[in-house]
Amino acid sequence: MTAAERPVPYSTAPRERRTAARGGMLLTFVALAALPVVSGQNGYVLQVYTQTLLLASLALAWNVLGISGAVSLGHAAFFGTGAYVSALLSTIQDLSVWITIPLAGVFAAALGMLAGLICMRLRGAYFALATLAFVEIPRVITTNWDNVTQGSLGLVGLPGLPVLHWGDWRLDMAASSTAAYYFVFAYAVMVLCIVGIIQRSSFGLAFQALREEETAALSIGIPVSALRLLALSASAFFAGICGACYAHLVRYIEPGLVYGLYFSAIPMVLAICGGRFTILGPALAALVIYPLDQFVFHPLLPAGHEFLYGLALVLTVLFFPKGFWGYFGRTS
């Protein structure tokens, strides 16, 4: 071993920071897990946090694609499709919500695959514009297929979240908002874990490589097109499940809402503000921004409170292009 091969002295700063981040994560996790107990019977708080976690999952789902460098402005396509598939299958086909929620993910993933095939050759801005247009297609089809979907009237009285059986033990998530909260919490944690695993596997490396230098990525054998397609359909899968959960949580959907700008904008805004090349960023942004919106700005400005998302996005792009967690969290 030559002198040059000696292990590099590892600076302690990142390690300390990592410990701090781990501690913060654990604390957040515990706080979220304890929330139903702490908030007592306050249904509104619980409802807001259930929605927060749903949006966090959606932002994480968005970022499964975002990590490959692509920016989607049309994730409502997958969210809305998931919502409609699960709603229709559970009402018309009378299937259990346990089955329709994953099926919603599968349908959304198929749609994602289709979008990916259409946009195969597009990068950067052009991909973003294509997703902006793409969302119109499932929306118009859903609206016009009114003998099944009730068109723009929407679907009301959807079944609630499923009932959990365990021997004698029953947990009715439709009746108990606490149970519903934990359901969404579990989903958010699951998506986070999956994103984390992907990121730490060689695929995370490949995604970073292909977003930084696609030509070189190809030349070292990374199957760029296949990975992009995979990222888009996986992202659509998780977003579709978010949509399905939303449908059964709120129990009312309409095309203008679930395919609307809101559900395209929110995951993008949260992921970019949190840091689109980070694992935790999108979820953290959701935890900060949505409660801020609901508890502070909504009471102040009932009509225009969503300006917050625009403001957050504009400030991020101008001053923190890497996003919040990209700046203050793990930098690599």
Partner: protein, 285 residues
Amino acid sequence: MLSAVVVSALATGSFYTLVALGFALIYGVTRNFNLAHGELLVLAGYTAYWLWKTWALPFVFTFPVAIVASMAVCLALQRLFARLSEPLELNSIVFSFGIAILIQNAMRLCFSGNYRLIRIPTLNHGAGFNALPVSYGQLTLLGLSLGAIALLYLFMYHTYPGKALRATIQNREAAALAGINVAAMGILAFAIGGFFIGLAGPLFGCIHYLYPATGPEATLLAVTLTIFAGVGRLGGIILAGWLLALAESITVLYIGSSWREMIPAALLLGLLALKPRGIFSDDGR
């Protein structure tokens, strides 16, 4: 019947052209995709509506105010767009998306979510060309869009700043090397873009309903026409506008009016999917 369809498609297409011009110009010169375009346009429409409704200003006189106002807003925005880093096209999309959300919510706050329409009855009256069923409104649109294109053409081909603008559209680096102040061209583009937005906004308010969430429709239209025509091909935009309107009329006639909304989106997707590099050269990696 057919002539009515064609006339209305031409008028609608001309309107689309007016809607898209500002966007196309700003993109061509600065490579900034301004997704807040539709919101700016609706804002100009609201300005006109407000002047017309509460101050009882004649509709024609709302234009100068709307134009000045939207030029001012565009110039202010230009300061922010100029701060964006590479990749410019993508960052401008994300940034302007945020601006769009901001403006949309500001409008919701100021004008509520209600639908507003600037009602100008005379515009719907027939202009009375014997067999040809043309209304004054349709004639106005046709005249305005052709006039705007002609004006722009004169400016771009016969004045020094116009030529510099054209050079910048064709090749920024080469233009900069030739001594053209590319930054100043960006400001000029936003000013002219603001002018066209201010021109189209009040028209939007009397053809289409005004409500805070309608901006993205106009944006999508503008994006589609810009991509259709190709960078800097301003003449192509009016053609693209007419073709799009015709495609929409045909869809309404033969498939159903509810499918009309899908046409610009489908067209844009098709263009991007089939000619991603033919129309734009995004291959500059």
